[in-house]
Symmetry: C2
Subunit: 232 residues, 2 copies
């Protein structure tokens, strides 16, 4: 059984420090910003859709007056974009690292799946937001998420182009394969988010099965590379 | 350029007949049922999420009193299930037909993609509901959609098992490949639903590109079949 380490939740970051030193202004500012982001995630966790979130209730849950909200975000949409940005920023750099490790493809795939699953489990609420935003009514968030996914796909396509076996491939075909791999992971992440949780963690047997099948689904298309003729 | 024929919309079915013959009781009943389903789809098309739909407003838009709603559906959830059921019933039988045509795999793939795209364009609102229900808050609809997707996947896995090249494959691997193909189509359908529309139709160039890439994404994994060793 693979054990996924649960990274410290963003919610525990920067909250109470357990000592009495007065916070600097910058720390207080960061503290409030984080409290607003957390409050939005908590509300959505309780089943409220992003579009139904009110700035007023998010501010109240974060312990600030509505006017204070605007010192951090110009609108609820901007807050949503910050959440999308946070999640993808870390994920993309971890995936790039996995691919630059110089390991053989099978290990790169395993490591990439591990990185994604670790991130999803550690930042469940962020990824639940992302999963919903893809089909949600909010246009700003949907575009942001789709752009991030396109960026992940393009970075992967660029790395695929470096393999000898894909040197002659057209751009469309490189994007096609990268898209196939990214889409596969998107729906496997959705399946992980759909698992019931106990203490924030899904049952390890169900999780392991999704991970095992996901790895196969990423390995299989790569095995077809020598048999594919990419023509303009 | 492929031309997708737009099937008659469910909304034009059974509405005004243009003649004065009195409808039978069964016809009136069917008429009201359809009006309720249409009203729900129209409201969702205007951006209301399924969970935010009120029985009262759906009944009003269909021109009946709320009490009349219950002669057709026991709840809004049951109405939602009827919409999911309608869409998948036709789609599944068309996909089975495509696979039973006896055509070579490349043609079966092309025909399957065509069938899916035709259905999605002809019943855009149904599929928009399905796409959203997958990540939406409503548990009843989400389970129904996920079950239908599992059924489509299982039927495909059964058909894949008949190929000589996959005769030795484990069940998990057959489901893995079927899942890969189905997931690919799910996200391509989502991309089609995301295209801007003009008179209900997306721009044909953008649509053709999605279709062309989707066909490649279905063909590529199948090319890997001879290179895959499926072990228990």
């Amino acid at each position: 059984m693979t054990v996924y380490r649960r990274a410290p939740s963003s919610r525990s970051r920067g909250r109470s420090h357990g000592h009495k030193r007065r916070l600097t202004q910058a720390e207080r500012r960061q503290h409030t910003r984080q409290a607003l982001l957390d409050a939005a995630l908590e509300h959505m966790d309780a089943g409220v859709s992003f579009d139904a979130l009110s700035l007023r209730s998010v501010a109240r849950a974060a312990g600030v007056v509505p006017a204070a909200f605007y010192r951090h975000f110009s609108s609820m949409d901007e807050l949503g974009l910050a959440l999308v940005d946070e999640s993808f920023h870390t994920l993309r750099s971890l995936l790039r690292e996995a691919r630059e490790s110089g390991l053989p493809p099978k290990h790169v795939i395993r490591r990439s799946v591990e990185v994604i699953v670790e991130q999803v489990l550690a930042h469940r609420q962020h990824f639940a937001l992302i999963a919903r935003a893809r089909t949600d009514g909010n246009t700003v968030l949907r575009h942001a998420v789709n752009n991030e996914i396109r960026l992940v796909t393009s970075e992967l396509a660029t790395d695929l182009a470096r393999f000898d076996a894909m040197r002659g491939w057209t751009n469309e075909d490189l994007q096609m394969l990268a898209g196939l791999l990214v889409n596969t992971m998107i729906l496997n992440v959705a399946a992980i988010l759909d698992l019931p949780t106990n203490g924030g963690q899904p049952p390890s047997q169900a999780l392991d099965e999704i991970v095992r099948v996901a790895e196969k689904q990423l390995r299989l298309p790569l095995l077809a590379v020598p048999n594919w003729s990419s023509t303009r």
